[in-house]
Symmetry: C2
Subunit: 226 residues, 2 copies
């Protein structure tokens, strides 16, 4: 029996932190199916193109992100037979975490693109295809990985203060870690952040030391959610 060829797409869950909230990048679909509906940015894999290269390409074409060297990891693959009315399409989802690239989504292919707070569209049925499910899985992955990896620093621009890093956890987890204990854990976790010589007063009050992302990927010990 001959195997059946299928279409393979890559969809992106792009997350960032904007004004203290975790937001996802969405594009408005211009064509059927689901024309006019919001969807995750994505596209089909081209011949000779690796999956991750498709993700990087779409990140540039549809999201205007690429200069930012975002964190990019494979999320999961969705292949329900009826997930696309056009026929059999298997979608490999990637999760990207980027520092806020600003409002106008430059270089965007899509008719329209916007950042939306993830809280409002968790179980919403407004997204095209099974993208609400994919988005939920991406947010869940980000929540979990904040605990035992240094990914939180990927959501804010360098250099950053300890308090700005704390606000990432506050936004993604919905809990406010104690500033003093948080400071102790972050600076004692080996390789999470590296100190610079500069400080900033952008928070008001006493100048805060500025840090850059450290070499550590896994955190020892992990940050705890209570």
């Amino acid at each position: 029996m001959q195997p059946t060829p299928m279409l393979v797409a890559v969809d992106l869950v792009v997350l960032t932190l904007r004004s203290g909230e975790l937001e996802a990048l969405l594009v408005r679909r211009g064509v059927e199916p689901y024309a006019g509906r919001w969807a995750l940015p994505g596209g089909f894999v081209e011949p000779g193109e690796d999956l991750v290269d498709t993700a990087v390409r779409e990140l540039g074409e549809e999201a205007g992100i690429g200069r930012l060297r975002p964190h990019l990891e494979q999320l999961a693959t969705y292949g329900s037979p009826d997930r696309d009315p056009r026929g059999r399409v298997v979608s490999v989802a990637y999760l990207a975490l980027v520092p806020d690239p600003g409002d106008p989504v430059a270089g965007s292919d899509a008719a329209d693109a916007a950042w939306r707070a993830v809280g409002t569209l968790g179980r919403s049925r407004s997204l095209a295809f099974d993208h609400a499910r994919i988005l939920r899985d991406g947010v869940e992955r980000a929540r979990a990985k904040l605990e035992y990896t240094s990914l939180a620093a990927a959501l804010i621009p360098e250099p950053f203060t300890v308090n700005e890093l704390r606000e990432v956890y506050a936004a993604v987890w919905g809990v406010e870690p104690d500033p003093r204990n948080f400071h102790r854990k972050v600076t004692s976790a080996d390789g999470f952040v590296v100190e610079t010589h500069a400080t900033t007063t952008r928070g008001g009050g006493r100048p805060a030391r500025l840090y850059r992302r450290g070499p550590a990927v896994q955190l020892h010990p992990p940050m705890l959610r209570g």
Copy 2:
């Protein structure tokens, strides 16, 4: 531009514990490419079939496992353009953890099938396609998940003793947790295991209490690797 259809396969990393070692299920390929070489069990996704259903089907057809209600989760998707000499094949890998189903791999489709200790083929080039890489990723996933989930119990048959569960960690992590501290952590981690009224003397010495898998998926607190 029309998108290019591709073949979509599902490959399985099936792990179990046999005589104190972590082993993976391999099948010997009967046809080109890589005829005669060992490979992960797998097959193409059929029309109208969901990815996870393909995994479950292959688990029965190629591995003779199915009665055992194994733990099954998606691992990752591999789509390098040159990973299959026949052409473009995207493979969705699944990770299955099962209690030892015994030596003869019954109901097996493949010409030959065998359990192999994962330690010996970590970076080996003896496996077909990119299956060595997939296997390594699967083992790495299992190692990580043992830390903060109750998955260790999926590798042994019920009911089991605390020491049998400890041997899972010893085999997968390559370290010997202290039996007394391990006992304390397991029985205090909420929902990891549930006590039965029975005991066994199969270990020799004082009878050990028998447990079943608890309802917990995540472990609080997690088991630590030092």
